[in-house]
Subunit: 580 residues, 2 copies
């Protein structure tokens, strides 16, 4: 008799009342996500799984631990179906913060980790995170967020096949550069074919896509989208059969709007989910992960049981994780919450894999993870002497010139302003809120110089917090830019803002987009960053995302990239890169 | 560019309006099973798939076939999630009859075919049926319905693995002998382990199972059940996370009762489905397959869109067939119905795989299938000289004896009556409605003799229509029994009733439980059989099922088996088999 069979026999015996159960949860009110009912039921737990749900006590023995759940609702753990657990905080710290709030499973984007670690390194990391008290599943990207020279090699079919074959990789991650897919790019279609052979479906990212174009993307195999930003977009996605995530993130806190698809337009909710997407830690601390979205949704008029279904069985069904996660039934994993009410969704107790993982907001399970310093995640940065030279930044010229200036119109959206720029010291000159903006290749091989407006009035800002993993340097003052860049390189990665001659803000990011700090420390730091950005004139709600996305070609508008200043829509290079 | 990629590119181009579509369905009212909405939308179809759903006509060209759907509802094809397509009629004839009524996909039990053909033969047959205009998927059994000596060999892990690995095998079929599973039978658990490795889930058959025991069966991995016969049983199954099929079959026409779980108890419907299970052809002709159930359900107060969801997207979700079947969305298979109304659910037009398959109730697609005579399905029967001898039947005795008589209390349920039986000519004597009842091994190796009451007053009835594939012979008159048995053997299988000295009914079943006739001929024959059974005193609603189940040990009660007269509950042999 092998281990699986033996485990199943034990479970059958507990369920059948022939064996003492390890744990018995007594007297709670079950939230039944299958029928939508609330009723009193006890739950027996054995070897990490639910063995029994009902009134029988025949499996309660002298060695059974009994938890008194009277006065509490029994609810499946919340599932976050789409997160990027490497935005400032690392995945272990995210679990430490989110698990006590009831988030017991996460579907994690692997992009940044894959880009740093390669296929084998990523899989080693996935394995190293597999024993966390929360379940981390992963999506595999098939292309980079923005084009990088290494793309062909990194996202080769061989590398992808390695990643696709890992049991914790359960979908292909958001296909951000959807216009290429819409155009029928054969290399994308070939990668999608391979994923189908490995039984993986496809997460979409159809931001800004018209209804008619959306048809084509859905026809190609996309199953979900988290990019709806209006009620109409929610309904369009649902109508076309997409599993639709309502997003409430630091960049796009849209839940109150999106929810009107249900509360006003009355669409059915079986294919709706919640996601915090890639939110910045201070936002998450304030908003409270998935449970916080549920609280907000119920306050906006959503039925509480529907909110629970949107956070449990719906994502489980979408993800192919039914029979394992998202419901309280025999044989399903014992990821359970004891909730005092169905308004706040803050658990008194969190059980994962049948063990008590958190009580009253405090984690009480070990959090085994990798040694982050040993993983090969160290931030890659250009040489100090290169970035310390102010002449690296700015555009040389002899007379006033019309230059394509990127203008920020929201935290993520840009437009172009062709404007004459004066010359000073042989360079086109920053002035007012017209900033120099440079992207320095992390290996020091090239630099793209341009101009940015609408971002603020800082003297200098430098960071490796950018989807291409290169060093982004902004500012009114090329000397301050060089100083900020040098500071970032010297501390091994991070973000530095110099304003009115002083270092206004400084945060270390020693592992690419991540630091090694606790969630709370990180939330404190990002809170402070928000303040510093505001002080130095940044007018929007998410400075980290503005920086991250400044280099992206998957968002419409104008971006600073390895090719130069780039118009995403027309695919034109407006001002070229300089090779070093 | 391989074929899949090329096909996908075409689809993308049609969806994007860059290529003429093959077929355009214009002006219909879409039944959106994702949102629950009804609204006007056109559908473009390319290479068997839906390419576009919406208002755009940019893919309509001079070579596009346009179907005017104005005045019709556009609805996904109906899915039958649990059928036994070898009960009198063969699968091709079933498709011929059911497809024009909107049934475009069937999940077929393979038991009888597997028992006759073995693993490789079954897979050849599955392949031979793969080009039908309807989709036939299959479930693989892991044990016989009733125990047979060949079981170990037939259901070996090697044979099962062969079957499990076929892409059209999508679940393990109903585990009928659930008490063995409840008891933790390791050979069953090992087979279930293998199925899990092959990514197959498990269809339950938890007839008569208490709520507490049901917990254990669900813990073992069962995902569905179609055996609820009361509202409470429906709710119990849903509450435990089982996908629950509401059954309306010739044996158990229970839909009006079961539906009260929704119409009165208001449970949510996302995990409910319809099934006709293994209905006899005349019942199916009268009731109208899944569409007929929907009509009945709506007449009983179910919302029509909910009825459609229960027949389309719900089974697709349960079966893991989303993105392919059960909804009208780009990339999904073009299995579509044009319905004149949402009361009768009788399609004007049936499209499958993008082709017109039926118009106004008449099939108009070719029905490619195997040569049934060449498959090795010929009915296995004991030797003529053996069954022609009246002394084979009945129990020899010298004086009045108390004997365990099987008493039918419904078409399928039996109890025991220990009753003194008189002796005549050295045999215990039939009298009134006390009938001899014998099961003769199909290879002539053994016979079990007993008595039956509550079945009727026929002189003799013989048939191979029994789950064990042996010859069942009943009657008041041992000579008439021998004559009926001889008739069955001489015609190569079937059913014969002799009543008042004459052959009252005769039907050929040359392929085990199947004949080679059309669905209508078979429905005529089974209609006549019902009349003949009633004339000869049979008091229930489904004589074929009574015969089929008389030999089953998976239903509670008393049965006639290879071991003898058998008490299923206590596992006791009440009167032994005789080896020949």
């Amino acid at each position: 008799m092998d281990k699986t069979t033996a485990g199943l026999k034990n479970l059958l015996e507990v369920a059948g009342g022939k064996r003492e159960t390890e744990l018995y949860i007594d007297g709670g009110t079950l939230v039944n996500v299958f029928t939508g009912e609330l009723y009193q039921a006890n739950v027996a737990v054995e070897q990490g799984k639910i063995a029994y749900v009902g009134d029988s006590r025949s499996m309660v023995g002298t060695n059974t631990k009994v938890i008194d759940a009277s006065g509490y609702y029994l609810c499946p753990g919340f599932i976050e179906p789409h997160t990027h657990p490497w935005l400032v905080c690392n995945p272990v710290k995210m679990v430490e913060a989110a698990l006590p709030l009831g988030n017991t499973a996460f579907v994690c984007d692997s992009l940044f980790l894959f880009a740093y670690l390669g296929a084998e390194g990523l899989l080693n990391l996935i394995n190293a995170l597999a024993d966390l008290p929360a379940e981390l599943f992963w999506v595999a990207r098939i292309m980079h967020q923005s084009p990088v020279p290494e793309e062909q090699e990194y996202f080769s079919l061989e590398n992808l096949d390695l990643v696709f074959s890992h049991p914790r990789v359960i979908k292909v991650g958001e296909i951000t550069r959807w216009p290429r897919l819409f155009a029928g790019d054969e290399s994308i279609l070939a990668k999608m074919d391979l994923a189908r052979v490995r039984r993986l479906g496809f997460e979409g990212h159809t931001a800004g896509c018209s209804y008619d174009r959306l048809n084509a993307l859905v026809a190609s195999g996309l199953e979900s989208c988290h990019e709806a930003i209006t009620v109409d977009e929610v309904i369009q996605r649902l109508r076309l059969g997409l599993w639709t995530m309502l997003r409430h993130s630091s960049l796009r806190p849209d839940l109150p709007t999106l929810l009107k698809a249900v509360t006003e337009k009355k669409v059915q909710t079986g294919r709706l989910m919640f996601t915090t997407d890639g939110s910045i830690p201070n936002f998450l601390r304030r908003s409270g992960f998935i449970g916080g979205m549920m609280k907000l949704a119920v306050a906006e008029g959503l039925d509480p049981v529907t909110a629970i279904q949107m956070a449990t069985i719906n994502p489980a069904a979408y993800l192919g994780l039914e029979q394992k996660l998202g419901g309280i039934a025999p044989g399903w994993q014992a990821d359970l919450l004891l909730l005092p009410d169905l308004q706040n969704f803050k658990p008194h107790l969190v059980l994962t894999k049948g063990q008590i993982a958190a009580i009253d907001g405090k984690i009480c399970a070990p959090l085994p993870g990798p040694d982050w310093g040993q993983l090969g995640l160290r931030t890659q940065l250009p040489p100090l002497e290169l970035v310390s030279d102010p002449s690296l930044y700015g555009i040389k010229a002899h007379e006033t010139t019309v230059f394509p200036v990127i203008e920020l119109v929201s935290a993520a959206i840009t437009k172009l302003r062709e404007t004459p720029i004066n010359v000073s010291d042989g360079f086109l000159a920053a002035a007012g809120d017209l900033l120099h903006c440079s992207l320095v290749n992390r290996h020091g091989r090239w630099v793209t110089n341009g101009f940015l407006t609408g971002f603020g009035k800082m003297d200098g800002l430098a960071t490796n917090f950018a989807t291409s993993n290169d060093l982004l340097v902004l500012g009114r003052d090329r000397n301050a830019m060089a100083r900020a860049a040098a500071e970032v390189v010297q501390m091994g990665g991070g973000i530095v803002i110099i304003h009115e001659g002083k270092i206004l803000f400084k945060m270390r990011l020693e592992y690419g987009l991540m630091n090694g700090c606790s969630f709370d420390q990180t939330a404190d730091q990002t809170e402070e960053l928000d303040r510093a950005a505001a002080v130095s004139g940044y007018p929007f709600n998410d400075v980290l995302y503005t920086l991250l996305f400044m280099v992206c070609d998957f968002l419409p508008g104008f971006r600073i990239t390895a090719r130069g200043i780039y118009d995403v829509k027309t695919r034109q290079v407006l001002a070229p890169v300089t090779l070093l």
